[in-house]
């Protein structure tokens, strides 16, 4: 772990992440999140995990965040709209929750930071990662893929509800009948 690079990168990640939640424009926050993803890839590089770093940029910054931006720009957001909640209760609960999470992670990190494994040996290249996935942890890996597949199938089933289908049919009928009248 290169400390000289780690601290600037961590500071950058924290600043960018704060920007994500403080920016009033949703496109700006999405872009700051892209920046944070790339900075996290930099931390992976410090840990000698080149493969993970490249995947981080390729998948998160290059594919998932593009879809995020796609949705953010196609839904209607006015520029002067402020994403600030005014309810006292939600503010207090938010501060309480994030504060407790912060201390939880802080003490966990303090406990585990002394004996971190040498990740570079395992995750540096595709071969090491493949051996971890397909030899040591093949069953959890397959279970995770099944969970993801189930989630995807669920989304497809939910977005194809019969009500929606009927409505869309009606819409096409409307267009057709309108065309006939004209």
């Amino acid at each position: 772990m290169n400390i000289l690079l780690f601290y600037p990168l961590s500071a950058l990640i924290i600043i960018l992440s704060l920007g994500v939640i403080l920016a009033t424009n949703p496109v700006h926050s999405a872009l700051l999140l892209v920046g944070a993803m790339v900075a996290i890839a930099g931390v992976f590089l410090c840990l000698n995990c080149e493969f993970l770093a490249m995947l981080q940029i390729f998948i998160y910054a290059g594919a998932i965040m593009v879809l995020f931006l796609f949705i953010v720009t196609t839904i209607d957001t006015r520029k002067d709209e402020k994403f600030v909640s005014s309810a006292k209760f939600s503010q207090a609960s938010g501060i309480l929750l994030s504060g407790s999470m912060f201390f939880l992670f802080f003490f966990l990190a303090l406990q585990f930071v002394q004996h971190l494994p040498d990740t570079g040996r395992w995750l540096g290249d595709a071969k090491g990662l493949g051996e971890l996935f397909l030899k040591s942890y093949s069953l959890p890996f397959e279970v995770v893929t099944l969970v993801l597949l189930t989630a995807m199938a669920g989304v497809i089933v939910m977005s194809h509800d019969p009500l929606y289908r009927r409505r869309s049919k009606e819409a096409s009928k409307q267009i057709l009948s309108g065309g006939n009248k004209a």
Binding site: F51, L55, I57, F58, A61, V66, L69, F70, A126
Partner: protein, 352 residues
């Protein structure tokens, strides 16, 4: 590491990067001229032939012209992202060249560099810089290139969004949807190459092709890559993001002066970059055909052939309709590339 050693290391990398960027930019300038002259030839026109011999100075005249044009910012444009978008478009396009092995290493230069490093830094440097002529032959080169190409979407998309114009926004949305769709098939076809070679280092992939190019055992993959290459760089017949009959000029409608020039440069640099990548993966990189030695000239010739293919397609084929583009990408190209991947795996397990 002392400050002097650090400075030396940075200077060394800086020289490498500087030489490469200048070469790529010159190629880009010449590409614009070649494209205009060849399109003119295909359309029975003359094309720009007045500035310099054969119009060879035309790209520089165009650059100067763009420099002196009015730099216009539309009302309601995003203050930060509008000027930033052309830069975001150009930087990943140039960064992608960092891992491309252009040619076999020049022994004299490499030995000099190694000697300097040994004397000044006292370190034995990575020998890969001697074997191939490249800025950084990293062990995840293929992934690096794909990741950087994936980042190219942002410039186009942000240019479209920040202009506060409906034509621009539609162009940007089209570009991002198209690039995401075709990136899948492209990655899958590249994956077949990685399966065969068993490495992600581009230098090793080139050295494995000394006896035979990968296009011989991956013909389907090559064709898929070729089509995705056109779609990834928003070139004809997939140039829907800048369809002039529907969207004026697409994502760069509101841009003028140097900002427009930077979008223009980004497109051509991305074209050269992805052609170099295709040459490296499928056409043997800097290896000559029939064992005719290896030289940077072979690399240049093959890359130019691919670039010529880009221009020829633009002069020949009409533009796709948007639903045709999506149908083709998801229903034809993606299953085909999956089939190619499965066939590659099958033959690898049977014949190895």
């Amino acid at each position: 590491m002392t400050i002097f050693e650090g400075f030396f290391l940075v200077a060394l990398i800086g020289i490498k990067v500087g030489v490469m960027v200048v070469c790529v930019m010159l190629c880009m300038a010449m590409m614009t001229l070649v494209e205009r002259r060849f399109l003119a030839f295909m359309q029975c026109r003359l094309g720009p032939n007045q500035v310099g011999y054969f119009g060879i100075l035309q790209p520089f005249a165009d650059g100067l012209k763009n420099l002196f044009k009015e730099d216009f910012t539309p009302a309601g444009a995003d203050k930060i992202l509008y000027p930033l978008a052309p830069i975001i478009a150009l930087i990943p396009a140039l960064t992608a060249f960092a891992v491309i092995p252009f040619g076999p290493g020049i022994p004299e230069v490499a030995n000099l560099l190694l000697m300097l490093e040994d004397k000044l830094l006292g370190v034995k440097s990575d020998l890969s810089s001697v074997v191939t002529l490249t800025a950084g032959d990293i062990n995840v080169g293929v992934l690096f290139f794909m990741a950087v190409v994936a980042m190219e979407i942002y410039g186009v998309f942000l240019g479209g969004w920040s202009s506060n114009s409906k034509y621009s926004l539609l162009g940007g949305l089209r570009a991002s949807a198209q690039m995401i769709s075709y990136e899948l098939s492209m990655t899958l076809s590249v994956l077949s190459i990685v399966m065969i070679s068993g490495t992600l280092r581009l230098g090793d992939i080139v050295h494995m092709q000394e006896r035979g190019w990968f296009i011989i055992i991956q013909p389907i993959g090559f064709v898929i890559f070729l089509i995705c290459m056109l779609a990834e760089t928003n070139r004809s017949p997939f140039d829907l993001p800048e369809a002039e009959s529907e969207l004026v000029a697409g994502f760069h409608t509101e841009y003028s002066s140097l900002k427009f020039a930077m979008f223009f440069m980004a497109e051509y640099v991305a074209m050269i970059g992805i052609s170099s990548f295709c040459t490296t993966l499928y056409l043997g990189g800097f290896n000559g055909p029939f064992g005719l030695g290896s030289s940077i000239l072979w690399f240049g010739m093959k890359t130019f052939l691919l670039l010529f293919f880009f221009i020829h397609v633009r002069a020949t084929l009409p533009r796709f309709r948007y639903d045709q583009l999506m149908d083709f990408g998801w229903k034809t190209l993606l299953p085909l590339s999956l089939l190619n991947l499965m066939l590659t795996g099958f033959f690898l397990t049977v014949f190895r």
